[in-house]
């Protein structure tokens, strides 16, 4: 059985990419079309005409039709729709792993961390000014406590933010599985 080389597979991949298919469907169609081209090669056609014959069936129109069909028929079921967020619906047929989906998903949390960090920085500034004007640096004075709280809030916000970013990376994997 003749096999396509990576460049030839890439040509078909590029062709499918232009049609805006979602990730899962794209990979599946790619395998299908490559199989078909290999079949034509096997019965003796040169690559160019094998590709042409395959793409005759898989023309832009039929691929678009398929994509539309997916959007209409394979949407969420009632139960899923009740639980889905606006983002889930918006990104159902779009590329989630690109990043915009996770950015939107974590927006609320990021906002809270940013506010916490800003508040902490503010507390640190106020405490710093007071402690300097007192010319006496003591952690056990009221302003010293404010300083400690500020430092804690800033560190907490930064740590939580990075922990959340690590979680981002795993989101696409779970979705695909």
């Amino acid at each position: 059985m003749e096999k396509l080389n990576p460049q030839q597979i890439d040509r078909i991949h590029k062709y499918l990419l232009q049609s805006g298919l979602s990730d899962g469907l794209l990979n599946e169609l790619l395998d299908h079309l490559v199989c078909e081209v290999e079949h034509y090669l096997w019965i003796g056609l040169p690559f160019e005409s094998a590709l042409q014959r395959t793409l005759l069936d898989a023309n832009a129109e039929s691929v678009q039709k398929l994509r539309k069909l997916y959007q209409e028929e394979l949407t969420f079921s009632e139960a899923q729709l009740a639980e889905a967020s606006l983002d889930d619906i918006l990104f159902q047929f779009r590329n989630k792993s690109y990043g915009a989906y996770s950015l939107r998903q974590s927006y609320q949390k990021t906002l809270v961390y940013a506010l916490g960090g800003a508040l902490g920085l503010g507390l640190m500034m106020i405490a710093l000014l007071h402690l300097i004007s007192q010319k006496n640096w003591s952690y056990w004075s009221p302003w010293g406590l404010v300083w400690i709280i500020g430092v804690g809030a800033v560190t907490g916000a930064i740590v939580m933010y990075f922990l959340q970013q690590e979680r981002w990376e795993s989101i696409p994997d779970h979705e695909e599985g």
Binding site: K3, D31, V34, D57, A58, K65, L66, S77
Partner: protein, 117 residues
């Protein structure tokens, strides 16, 4: 010919896919289209535009599961029946066989019975 068969094919796609998968452990999309082609000696062809929506619909209903395997540098998705899929396959196949039976009875009505003569 093409037109007529595609009209009948549409209603039986699910059954065809379930039947093929019940005979083989796991299959991928192109393999299913080829199996249909081979068994009918090229008379029936499943287009990818008809096949994949059915596969994904069945998967969504929990009748199929898929696993992706890397083959020659690309991902290939194999489908296999779940437990409820196996049940459904048996049910659909017997339902369809009964339907074919009825159709045959319908078409083979003896002339002396036809139209109340």
């Amino acid at each position: 010919m093409e037109q007529v068969s595609s009209e009948f094919l549409r209603g039986t796609l699910k059954t065809i896919v379930l039947k093929l998968l019940s005979e083989q452990n796991k299959m991928y999309g192109y393999q299913i289209t080829q199996a249909v082609k081979e068994r009918t000696r090229g008379e029936l062809t499943l287009t990818f535009g008809a096949l994949y929506p059915v596969l994904h619909k069945l998967e969504q209903e929990g009748l199929l599961i898929n696993e992706s395997v890397e083959v020659d540098g690309r991902l290939r998705k194999y489908y296999s029946l779940t437990d409820s899929g196996t049940q459904m396959a048996i049910q659909k196949i017997s339902e369809f066989e009964r339907f074919v039976d009825y159709m045959q009875q319908l078409f083979q009505t003896p002339p002396n019975l036809a139209y109340g003569n």
